[in-house]
Amino acid sequence: MNLALSDEQVFLREAARGALSRFKTLEAARAALDGDDSALPDLWPTAREAGWPGLLIDDAHGGAGLDAFDAMLVLGECGRVLAPVALLGHLPATAILNASPSAAGLLEPLATGERRAAYLPAMPPNDLVDGWCVDPKHGSTRPSAPQAKDDGKGGVLVSGTLAFVPDAPGADVLVGVALLDGKPVGVAIESSANGVSVEEVHRYDATRSLGHVTLSGAQATLLDTPLEALAGAWHLTQTLIAAESLGSVETALEMSVAYAKERHTFGRAIGSYQAVKHSLTEVLRQLENGRSLLYYAGWSRQGAPAEFPLAASAARSVAGRALDQGARTMISVHGGIGATWEHDAPLYFRRAQLSRRLVGGTGAATDRVAGELIAQAEAA
């Protein structure tokens, strides 16, 4: 039994914190909200220098050959400072390709970061919903995953739309799931191919790069990805959002605690009041629960793959709620100033609001936890 970080993992985390600290990401996030799109730093060169694009690619193909937990550590650091690094799209895409023997030729430039990939998130079936589906542009009805048909030349043509795809704008290759004769298959699509359109969209949190992807008979490479790895990419994305969210909670809690120590009312530091102390302790409780589930998810992806969907969904569920709670608590502990444009608290609040609704949302993850447990209960 060992649920602690290795020396290498501690180093990876500290190196990430150091690399990101060179950028004024929070100021950039505020300026970008004010309409200055050029304010956001291009962090991809930093990611390349650190070797993050190849984290989940085998070393035989130029990657670091590390596992989900290592990726989570990096995402946690991004979340701490709301750094817009395009890993949420890139890493699950590389995980799919890395599990596909036929895609070996694509991996090397993705491992170095010379090319960037984005994952097209498709939610695997659960105990109530039979098919694969994707996030809708509007409302709560989920469309089916894209359809693929044989192009007669060994590849497939893919059609469908996917809304709010993380890091899709500017990606060189889109990787995801399509349904070929009703069966899920892995596909890789050059974003420059005919029939591919990526519409960049901004919603509420300027640090989050999103795109509506429309595929109209787009030429795609058919991948020999095992089904488990196709579903696994969805669950991996859940763990990465969880890790990133908990990183944001760490900052929110640290800032709130610091302010609660220095701000006085009625002759006392506000942190000495039970109401304030208990609300901060509640954020800590949810943060610690989330951290424990990151360990569960990180361990189970290799150590108990049958439990990975449960672990990843539980991590997303708890971390999503922790970020909601942490961001709102940060504002209320700071009082009125916490709700002003100049303060950093609203940036974390915006992150929480949008994250909660992406890639299935916290709600779909929570529902999947229930579904996985119900299936376990019936098997027992």
Partner: protein, 405 residues
């Protein structure tokens, strides 16, 4: 990062499993149609079984060898607990003695006390209880008023009342915190004693709770005489000795969360049995939130174990796991009863029992509010609550409280 046994732990597990396989027929039956029902019979059967577990090295695993333990780490004890649960047999009867009070005696007791008491405690020959809480001293444990006065010959006379005492009705001894000097301030004038439960002047009375059952007791002390050698850890050092017990209590909670039976799969089975409930999005949302947190606590336990293995002592943040477990189980009870309807509140229902038990459990080991204060101050470093009890003799505290009100 892994959850695997080391080769040594795997060998230990194999040995434990083999012993249980061979001896599980000797364990008392507590559930099912053949279950024992008479309480005295249950207690004596469980004491006998505790003796066998101890003899086989499955209990008191972390205790030193000279007192009957195995001198192994907490992980080996957890391996034993896991295998005992897997074999479907009861664990030891005196978890409070072996898990908390014995380790306190090992840390603070005299050689004579250790030699006299530890062996019979471990083997279930003498069951122990923890006499700390009082009607006016729970979360604020250092406010105990049970008074111990020293006689000229060095012996002691104790008068007062303890409450929430598990197992007192069949215990041979209790570890008791009493006030020996009210002129000191409240944490300083305390002393820990060993109390023979059959001493003249000791009265044990069952304390019925919401469910109607009496899981705890009140213990009354009316001029009870104790010899000078009943003191544990020195006169005036009772608070430090009590903190050792509370530290072991946190370890026990940290390692045994699901041992209380508040288990996600058990809760889910109840929901899944209802065809509408299992498909209802609101029920699923609530269930998903509850079980996510309970799963988290399981892995918090593994984190605690990892820390213990590295020689670190779990801090008050382990208390957060208790908050999560209790509140999660409360929500689960409500959800299950919402789905199953009033039948879940039938007096014979396992859910009615759980629903009745939990409101009290919320305050066990310190109320949730005080736990959150402690964690806010010790873990987050927030400024303390203003308090009236610092730097004044305990004897003056009451009048000061009255004046402030």
């Amino acid at each position: 990062m892994d959850l695997d046994d080391t080769p040594e732990q795997a060998a230990h597990r194999t040995r434990v499993r083999a012993w249980l396989e061979e001896h599980k027929g000797e364990a008392p039956v507590l559930t099912g149609p053949d279950a024992l029902t008479d309480e005295a019979e249950i207690v004596s059967a469980r004491r006998l079984w505790q003796g066998k577990l101890a003899e086989a090295g499955l209990a008191g695993v972390t205790w030193p060898k000279e007192y009957g333990g195995q001198a192994l780490g907490p992980i080996e004890q957890v391996v034993c607990n896991q295998e005992i649960a897997k074999a479907g047999v009861p664990g030891i009867l005196d978890a409070i003695g072996v898990g908390m009070l014995g380790p306190t005696l090992i840390a603070h007791g005299t050689e004579e006390q250790k030699g006299r008491y530890l062996g019979p405690m471990l083997h279930g020959d003498e069951v122990w209880c923890q006499l700390f809480s009082e009607p006016a001293a729970g979360s604020d444990l250092a406010a105990v008023q049970t008074r111990a006065r020293q006689e000229e010959d060095g012996s002691w006379r104790l008068t007062g009342q303890k409450v929430w005492t598990t197992n007192a009705q069949f215990s041979s001894y209790g570890l008791l915190l009493a006030r020996t000097d009210p002129e000191q301030h409240k944490h300083k004038g305390l002393t820990m004693f060993i109390l023979p439960m059959d001493a003249p002047g000791v009265t044990v009375r069952g304390l019925r709770q919401i469910s109607g059952e009496a899981e705890f007791n009140e213990v009354f002390l009316d001029d009870v005489a104790l010899d000078a050698d009943a003191v544990v850890g020195g006169v005036g050092n009772g608070w430090g000795t009590a903190l050792t017990t509370l530290m072991f209590e946190r370890v026990t909670i940290g390692l045994g969360g699901e041992g209380l039976g508040f288990n996600s799969l058990r809760f889910t089975k109840a929901i899944a049995s209802d065809e509408h409930g299992r498909r209802d999005p609101k029920v699923r949302k609530e269930l998903g939130e509850i079980v996510s947190e309970l799963l988290a606590v399981r892995f918090t336990g593994y984190r605690t174990l990892t820390a213990l293995q590295k020689g670190q002592i779990p801090g008050p943040e382990a208390g957060l796991a208790k908050v999560t477990i209790v509140n999660g189980a409360i929500k689960a009870g409500d959800l299950i009863a919402d789905v199953l309807g009033p039948d879940a509140l039938d007096e014979d229902s396992e859910w009615a029992y759980m629903i009745s038990f939990l409101p009290g459990l919320k305050s066990a080991g310190g109320t949730e509010e005080i736990l959150r204060n402690t964690i806010g101050e010790r873990v987050l470093g927030l400024p303390p609550e203003p308090r009236l009890d610092k730097g004044i003799p305990f004897s003056e505290l009451r009048s000061k409280e009255g004046a402030a009100a």
